[in-house]
Amino acid sequence: MQGLYDFLTGPALWLTFIIFFGGLLARGAFYWGLSLERDKIFWDHFDPVWSWRSIYHWLLPWGGVSFRQQPVFGLAFFLFHLCLLGIPVFLDAHNIMWEEYFGWSLPTLPDPVADWGVLVLLACVAFLFARRLVKPEVRILSTLWDYALLLLTAAPFVTGYLAYHQYGDYLTWLVLHILCSEVLMIIVPFSKLGHLMLFFFTRAFIGSDMGARRDQYGRLGARTW
């Protein structure tokens, strides 16, 4: 187990970061090039202000029109993303690692906050999972992979939680936690989770296209939020 631990926190971790950031960068660069050739419409009407408005509103809780119409889902959705991104980055234990590996660290969350955050996240995952199963318009779109991805997203948090509270064998949970996290990070650039990056691009397009492109000669752009 110790050997596995050393591997996962050594070469595997580096590889994960390289694949995660490298994958996103490569995908971004590829799409960038492609867009110059096949998405002239994007560049013709790109507008930073309308792009930003289109992005920014959807980052706020209930900032998007759909979330205002479905406020409970809107809240779950927001908290899910907040915890998903916030906890791993600002967790105290992780920042000790950042310090060790990269020589820098970020401000950290108090442990009890992170602890509760995990429970909030898991509650959100349960809600999103149930929603996927129950609502016909979501179920019809969902593939097995969609359910699996949701569970994969939750896995690092479950295992991390168990490890932190030392239920059962600490090292086992820790190893599982690192493994799940690395798998998840490797999947991101190559799956719909790539929206981590592409969200900004697609929102910039629709914001500029429906906003800036119409917002001229005294006419008004349409708000896409």
């Binding site: 799409y31 960038w32 492609l34 867009s35 050739e37 096949r38 998405d39 002239k40 419409i41 994007f42 013709d44 009407h45 289109s54 959807w58 998007g64 029109v65 759909s66 119409q69 479905q70 889902f73 959705f77 996927r132 609502k135 016909p136 318009e137 979501v138 179920r139 019809i140 779109l141 969902s142 593939t143 969609d146 799956s191 719909k192 790539g194 929206h195 592409l198 969200f199 691009f201 697609t202 929102r203 397009f205 629709i206 914001g207 296209d209 429906m210 492109r213 119409r214 917002d215 001229q216 000669y217 005294g218 006419r219 008004l220 752009g221 349409a222 708000r223 896409t224 939020w225």
Partner: protein, 460 residues
Amino acid sequence: MTEPAEEIQAQETPEQDDRPVDLKKIQSILSSNSGARMRSWLDICARCGLCADSCFFYLANDKDPKLSPAYKVKSTVGEMYKRKGRVDRKFLREAYEVLWGQCTMCRRCSMFCPFGIDMAAMIGVGRAVCTSQGILPAGLAKAVENIRETGNQMAVSQEDWLETCEWMAEEYGEEIAGLTIPVDKKGVKYMFTVNPREPAFYPQDVGMMAQILHVAEESWTVPSTGWDSTNLAMFAANKEMAAYPVKLMYDKALELGVEQILVTECGHAYRSAAFEGPYFLGLPGGKPPLPVKHSVQLFWEYIVRDGRIKIDPEKKVTVPVTVQDPCNQSRSAGLSQMLRELSQALCADFRDMNPNREFNHCCGGGGGFIPMGAEFKKRRMISGKIKAEQIKATGAKIIIVPCHNCFDQITDLNKEYELGLKVVSFKELICESMIIPEKFIPKEEDEEPASQPGDDGGEE
């Protein structure tokens, strides 16, 4: 006054048609559209279903999950990409039902999707694939044929167009002294373009427009060619033919040296002339070669902004009035505020629908639905339920509809749902209530002459 396309018979039954598809062509369409946007849209759709509630097809059909935008896209265009274009005619026939029969490309869903996925653009690619294999609604196929042969979707001859203008100048000149409809006058401000329905069925629209332009003492002309700004080839997703009428129009405007192209009260005509046309023609920057203005904006400038046309307060409409937000004006062209200010200037009791402006619901007549004819009428009436309910809730007795397709749809909904409405255009209301300045009031003795020499533009 029947819409001619209604008479076109539904397509033969190509279910039996098992000719192989042209795989190369399909793949080339898919590939040329497979840019960063398309790839992102296909990849990142979170399958969250949030777009469902935004679509009136879904809402009007008991929330059938198969009618949610994401499902419609996934089961058609999504499948085409997934199968790398290897689809058969049976698949395309099924896709056809969805691509034309379940989506008007109104773009409302894009505003409700957290990623802003442009479902309508994707549906457009699906339509292009089907069209490339000859699978498209008969009404649109006919319109495309007409465009090919005559440059306009209803095959109105140039002679008929010019005669309509002449006739209307005469008829509407009886009420406004000195009224003319100049043809091909060079160097004027506006080149006025219409929907072929006007010369074909609603010539009075041309007459009323001439009255308004004349009273505003505008510098304008109609062109002898390139006068059709509509574009049904756009809804057939036949890019090559969609480029043709746009080219005729732009070329004519440049030849005449006008400042702007003016588009009649029609939504998709404006979409084509001002926004999509440049892409059909591959113009750099995606901009038309000269500004394109919608009539609603012109009316707004005349009445609200500049006071060039005055409304007689005595003649203002007093019964409750609402206004239809055509998708191609309010959502995709930024005219929503002008629509309202103009309505309020003409009506004492203006009532908004809800939702409205860029969040309006499509009436159900967009995306080519009206000219798609009888085959699609039933679903058009069913999906129009949302609009009918919206209108009903306002309690309006009159609805202003500044778009030809919305006009037909709402006229049909009016009957179907017994809304008891009067459906009017802006020009109709303006002509009924504008103050005609003294100098334009015909004097008893010169009642006869319709046009006066000198004011007539025919410089060519």
